[in-house]
Amino acid sequence: MRRMGALVVACAAAALAPWGAAAESTIRIGFPMPLSGPAAVYGVPVTKGAELAVADINAQGGVLGRKLELLERDSKANADEAVRLSRELILKNNADFLIGTLTSSEAPAVSTIAKENKIVFIAPTAKTIQLTGPANLHPYIFRLASNTDIEGRTGATLVARWKDVKRVATIAPDYAYGRDAVAAFIDFIKKARPDIEIVDQQWPKLGQSDFTPFINAQMGKRPDAVFCDVYGGDFVTLAKQAGPLGYFKAINYRLADGGEVGSVDEARALGADYPFGLWSDAYDPVVWSGDEPPEHKAFVEHLRAFTKDPYGSGWAIMGYSAVEALAAGMKKAGSTDSDKVSKALLGLTFDTPVGKRTFNTATHETDSGEFWGEMVKDEHYPFAIMKEPKYLAQGPLTN
């Protein structure tokens, strides 16, 4: 009992410990991101990328003569926890800006808090169109990632190039992300190739453990090509079950997956089980076969050294670029005031290791496309790599 008392006192002391320990002059960036649970697979590399950018910027003297400080918090991939953390970061830890969130519920939830507190919030990875839709747009929200519309359209651009393809099927997780991306894909493929017919649509649920019935039903319709939006752990399950059924072979590996299964992370998760020959996208292919831009090469080497990971991650670039974008905004505004920075970010063009990006003044998005390519075997790596990554933006038929 006495020991318990000591523990309670220790907890109370921790509760009362002042926050003023950090130097007053740092620019604080609140960073709520899933760092535990299944979503941490993406959350941790995004955080590492942001840490790298902060370290780089601080090594060059910071922004406006002040160092950056990243306040990382585990959002648990949970909207209410992300809201609580954002309030805590803004009100208690005096965060000047927010960067972060991963899932499609966290980002709109935090966006409301950013609006309420007039704090600039950059979402590095959230894809939901609702985040910056007209009903929810406000001066302080910015999105770095591509969105589900762009994902569907770039997939359609790719499939449209396969001239002999006439019968197309889709398979995507049965929730807003999958539904929105497939809707954009169908809308766009019909414009690009009126001769293409959609012969089948499958909607496995998120976290599906048995894809066999979906695969068999789809093969029964004899599609020539498939647009797929299954990603992450679900794609690992799908690939392992579809391979022995001859699914990929039956469509001649004409499967375009818009869910970043072209990332080095996904390729490593599947290893030799990867269905080599299919096509997919990634924010950053990391392993770049072909004409690698020198900035990208430098970035990846730097990232590998920073994270002590021999291969790196395709998600780190999103955290890295979000911090770089914010720093560019502060420099342009000459201030850390969110009202000034939010105006400066509109129309701002900033550098990323894979080329320049610009925040659209109307939508607050970068309209960023993704790198697409065929996933092939390479003797230098124990996993699939993207052959000659090509940057696909919205395609020739933009709205």
């Binding site: 009100l91 609702q130 807003a176």
Partner: protein
């Protein structure tokens, strides 16, 4: 509740309410948010405890009614612009209505089967909210739920210069206090005594002519209604309603609150809610390994105080009293 001590005569609800009233003036803006969250979680945990502690029904799906209340209130206020004064009772009735339907099936089972069925219903509710894009916003939720119109508060003396979040805190506190007082009356009433009798020995209660299922269903509906009320307040407090609110992990969280605080005492879940909210926010500020730290603290607390925090405190007070009494008589 089985140990009568003079503390029962003190109007605790009123005292806690009066003490918590000062947070907006004495604390920071963040403290007000923390206070609002504790008040809402406290009501949620006490509503669960009507089933868990009073009736002896282990519900793993209590979060369903919390979430249904949140969605009803959020959808009415955001999508249809219904005023809060109507949306809140609607959330309450709606959650109680769903509790009636789900509970009708659940009380037909006992023990682990009851628990599994409550969990199944809550996961069904979650899946519907996660997928019904047109109404609930699906996985993207319903962001930007408006605060209720609280301008009338500025007419009250002393509440002039308060922010909207402070006013919402006061409103939440008042609603939670009234709800807790009502729950306290319900538990203390002959109806509540009957629930306790069912918890202690359902067969015997049935033999003396009590319709056990009907009483259990009534408790289920009352608990669901108050959970819905808590959910409605939580949706506004968090400025949005998301399917995460209905996920089963939240059922586990509220159960931890009730057990940690002590489910044999009315105030146990309140203390548990306050403890868990504070622990969570302290630990997550310092480490990303929060599940480990939280787990260890809970383990130690539960071993040190098997009756929960309030159980431990009451045992301590009774022990001191016995000692004091012993000296007097000697």
């Amino acid at each position: 509740m089985t140990v009568p001590w003079s503390g029962n005569r003190i109007p605790w609800t009123l005292m806690v309410f009066l003490a918590a009233l000062w947070v907006p003036w004495l604390g920071s803006r963040y403290d007000t948010f923390l206070g609002t969250q504790i008040a809402i979680d406290a009501l949620f945990a006490v509503s669960l405890n009507l089933l868990l502690g009073t009736t002896g029904l282990v519900s793993f799906g209590h979060v369903a009614y919390f979430g249904i209340g949140a969605y009803i209130c959020g959808i009415l206020m955001k999508t249809y612009g219904v005023p809060f004064a109507l949306a809140l009772p609607a959330a309450w009735l709606g959650a109680a209505g769903f509790a009636l339907v789900f509970g009708f099936f659940c009380v037909r089972l006992t023990k682990i089967y009851f628990a599994m069925l409550t969990l199944a219903f809550s996961q069904i509710a979650w899946a519907i909210c996660f997928k019904w894009n047109g109404v609930t916003g699906g996985d993207q939720g319903l962001p930007d739920v408006p605060y209720p119109d609280l301008d009338w508060m500025s007419a009250l003396p002393g509440l002039d210069g308060l922010r909207v979040s402070d006013r919402f805190y006061l409103l939440t506190l008042a609603l939670v206090a009234v709800s807790l007082a009502a729950l306290r009356r319900i538990i203390g009433s002959p109806f509540g005594r009957m629930l306790t009798a069912i918890r202690e020995n359902p067969e015997r209660a049935a033999f003396i002519g009590v319709n056990v299922r009907r009483y259990e269903l009534a408790a289920f509906v009352v608990a669901g209604g108050f959970a819905g009320l808590a959910g409605a307040l939580f949706g506004i407090f968090n400025r949005g309603v998301f399917a995460d609110y209905l996920y089963w992990t939240k059922s586990a969280e509220v159960m931890i609150m009730a057990i940690l605080g002590g489910m044999e005492h009315f105030w146990g879940p309140v203390v548990g809610a306050a403890t868990l909210v504070m622990l969570n926010q302290q630990i997550t500020s310092y480490t990303e390994y929060w599940p480990f730290v939280l787990g260890v603290i809970l383990l130690v607390l539960l071993f040190a105080f098997p009756g929960g925090i309030v159980g431990g405190l009451v045992a301590g007070v009774n022990w001191l009293r016995r000692r004091g009494g012993g000296r007097q008589s000697a």
